[in-house]
Amino acid sequence: MSIAAAIGDTLQEEHQPNEPKRKGKWVPYLLMLPGMLWLAIFFVVPIVSLFLTSLQTPVPGGQVGEFQQTFNFANYWDTLSDSTYYIPLFRSFVYSGIATLLALAIGYPLAYAIAFKSGKFRNLLLVLVIAPFFVSFILRTIAWRQILADEGPVVAVLRSVGLVGETAGVYPSAVAVIAGITYNFLPFMTLPIYASLERVDPRLIEASGDLYAKPFTGFRKVTWPLSMPGVVAGTLLTFIPAAGDYVNAALLGRPSNTMIGNRIEYTFLSVNDYPTAAVLSFILMACILTMVLVYIRRVGTEDLV
C-alpha cells in the first residue's frame, strides 16, 4: 500500500472511525465466495428442490417412492384439507407458542437475576445456563421421561399434594411435551435477554427511582423497553425451532400429541410420500416466515443479525 493511500485511509478513518475500509472492490466477494457458494448450493437450491418435489405426482404404475416432476398445485389443497395434517400443524403452533411464553416467564427473571444480582458469580452462572447443551439433547429429553414417569419425583410430589390423581400421570401427555420443549429451548431465550439486560446502565434504573417511580413502574418504563431486542431475539430463537421440533413430541407425548415435525418425518422417511412431506415442510416454512415478519414488524426491530 502506498503512503499516499495510507494517509488517505487514515484521514477517512478520522472522520468515520467505524467505517470499514474501501480497498480492492473484488476482495470481499472473493473472501465470501466459498461460504456463500456453499449456502447457495446446500440451502437455496434444496429449498427450490423441496418446492419442486411438493408439486410431483406418483409415476403411474410405479413403485412406492417413485415420483415424476409435474406441477400439480392441487397437492397443496389435498394436503391442507386433510385433518391428519392440518391438526398437527395447528397443534405445533399452539405447543410452541405456549412453550415460548413459558420460556419467557422463566428465562426473563433468570436473565435479570444473572445480570443484576449475581455479583462475582455472573460468569459461572452463564456457564450453567449453557451447560445443558453439553449433554446430548436427546438424552436430556429421555431424562425428562424418567423424571416425569409415574415412578418419578414429579408425579410423587403432585400426588402428595393431590394435584394429580392416584392413577393419572404426567408422561406421556401434552403437558410433558410442552415442558420438554420449554426446557430444551430455555437457554436460547435466556442468553439474548441477558445480553441486552447487561447493556442496560443501572444508573438509568436508579434515576427512575430518584424520579419517584415505583420499582415496578421503573421496570416497565425503563428496563423492559431497553431489553426488548433481547426479548425479540429470544422469542424467535425459541419459537422457530420449537415449531419444527418433533423429538419432544415423539419421546414425551402420545400419538395424539404429534406435531407437524413428526408428520413430516413419518411421511418422508417411513411412508416415502415425498410430495406430501414436501408440501408440509413448505407450508411450515411459509407459516413461520410470515409469523416472524409480522412479529418483527409489530415490535419494530430491524437488525437481528
Binding site: 487514515t10 437450491v45 436427546i138 431424562a143 424418567q146 425451532p241 415425498y274 416466515l289
Partner: protein, 276 residues
C-alpha cells in the same frame, strides 16, 4: 447470598417474609437452575446404573459402565462417527464462516444486505425444513445418503453460526489498533497477522467450539440425510424405543465434563490475561 436485612428484633415470620421478599428473584433463579440442570444430573446419575439393556428405572450402583464404555454394541462406533463428522465440519465451516465475517465487517460492497439475509435465513428455518429440503435435493439428484451427505448438511447450518460469532468479535475490535500498527510501519499483512488475528482468535475459537457442538448434537437434519449412517444422537434416538444402554449416558456425561472444563479453563485464562 443470604443476608437478612430486617431488624434483628422483628418476629421470625416477619423476618422470613422480608428475606423472601428481598431474595425472591434469587430464589426464582435457583429454581430455574434446578429445572435446567435436573436432566443433566439424571443423565449423569443413570450412567452409574447397573441396568443392563434398558436404563429406565434405578437398579443399583456400578462402575462397570464407566470402566467399559464400549460394552454395549453400536455405542462407540456411533460416537467415532460423530467425532469424525464434527471435526471435518468444524474445520470447514469455521474457515468459510470466518472469511464471510471478515468481508462483512471490513468492507462495504454491493449485495451486503442480501448476504446478511442469506446468512440469517438458515438460522430462521426450522431444522425439519432444512433436513427435508436437503433430502429432497439428494433424492431428486439420486445422491446416495450417508457420511458425505451428513457432512455437507452440517457444514451448511454451521456456517451461519460461525459468521455471527466471529462477526460480533470483529465488530467490537477497535480499528484504530490496526491503524496504529500501520502507523508504526507494519505492513498491512503484518498488522493483520500480529494485531487483528490474535485479537479475533478467541472469537474464531468460540465459533469453532460452537460449530463442533452443533454438529455433534444434531439429530433432526442428520436423521433426514444419513441413510444407514449412524451418529451418536441418532443411535440414542433409535434405541429409545427398545432401551438406551447406560454406556450412552457415560459418553454423554464424559462429553459434558470435557466441554465444561474447556469453557471454565478458557474463562479462567481470559480473566488472567485481563480484558482483551
Amino acid at each position: 447470598m443470604s443476608q437478612a436485612t430486617a431488624a434483628p428484633k422483628a418476629p421470625l415470620t416477619h423476618r422470613l417474609r422480608t428475606w423472601v421478599g428481598d431474595n425472591a428473584l434469587r430464589i426464582y433463579a435457583v429454581i430455574a437452575f434446578v429445572y435446567l440442570l435436573l436432566p443433566v444430573a439424571y443423565t449423569f446419575a443413570f450412567s452409574f446404573n447397573d441396568a443392563g439393556r434398558t436404563n429406565i428405572v434405578w437398579n443399583s450402583f456400578t462402575w462397570d459402565n464407566w470402566l467399559n464404555p464400549c460394552g454395549a454394541p453400536e455405542v462407540c462406533p456411533s460416537v467415532v462417527n460423530s467425532l469424525v463428522v464434527g471435526l471435518i465440519v468444524t474445520v470447514v465451516s469455521t474457515i468459510l464462516g470466518t472469511l464471510i465475517a471478515f468481508s462483512l465487517v471490513r468492507y462495504r460492497f454491493r449485495g451486503r444486505s442480501t448476504t446478511n439475509l442469506l446468512i440469517f435465513l438458515p438460522m430462521a428455518t426450522p431444522e425439519v425444513v432444512l433436513g427435508s429440503s436437503l433430502l429432497a435435493l439428494f433424492l431428486n439428484l439420486f445422491v446416495p445418503l450417508g457420511f458425505t451427505t451428513v457432512v455437507l448438511a452440517h457444514i451448511m447450518f454451521c456456517i451461519s453460526f460461525v459468521v455471527v460469532t466471529v462477526k460480533a468479535r470483529l465488530a467490537s475490535l477497535d480499528p484504530r489498533l490496526e491503524q496504529a500498527a500501520m502507523d508504526l510501519y507494519a505492513s498491512e499483512r503484518e498488522a493483520f497477522r500480529r494485531i487483528t488475528l490474535p485479537l479475533v482468535a478467541p472469537g474464531i475459537a468460540a465459533a469453532g467450539l460452537l460449530a463442533f457442538s452443533l454438529s455433534f448434537d444434531d439429530f433432526i437434519i442428520t436423521n433426514f440425510n444419513s441413510g444407514q449412517f449412524t451418529t451418536f444422537p441418532k443411535f440414542v434416538y433409535v434405541s429409545a424405543t427398545r432401551g438406551i444402554p447406560p454406556q450412552a449416558n457415560v459418553i454423554a456425561s464424559a462429553m459434558f465434563f470435557i466441554a465444561l472444563a474447556i469453557v471454565l479453563i478458557s474463562q479462567f485464562a481470559g480473566r488472567r490475561r485481563k480484558e482483551v
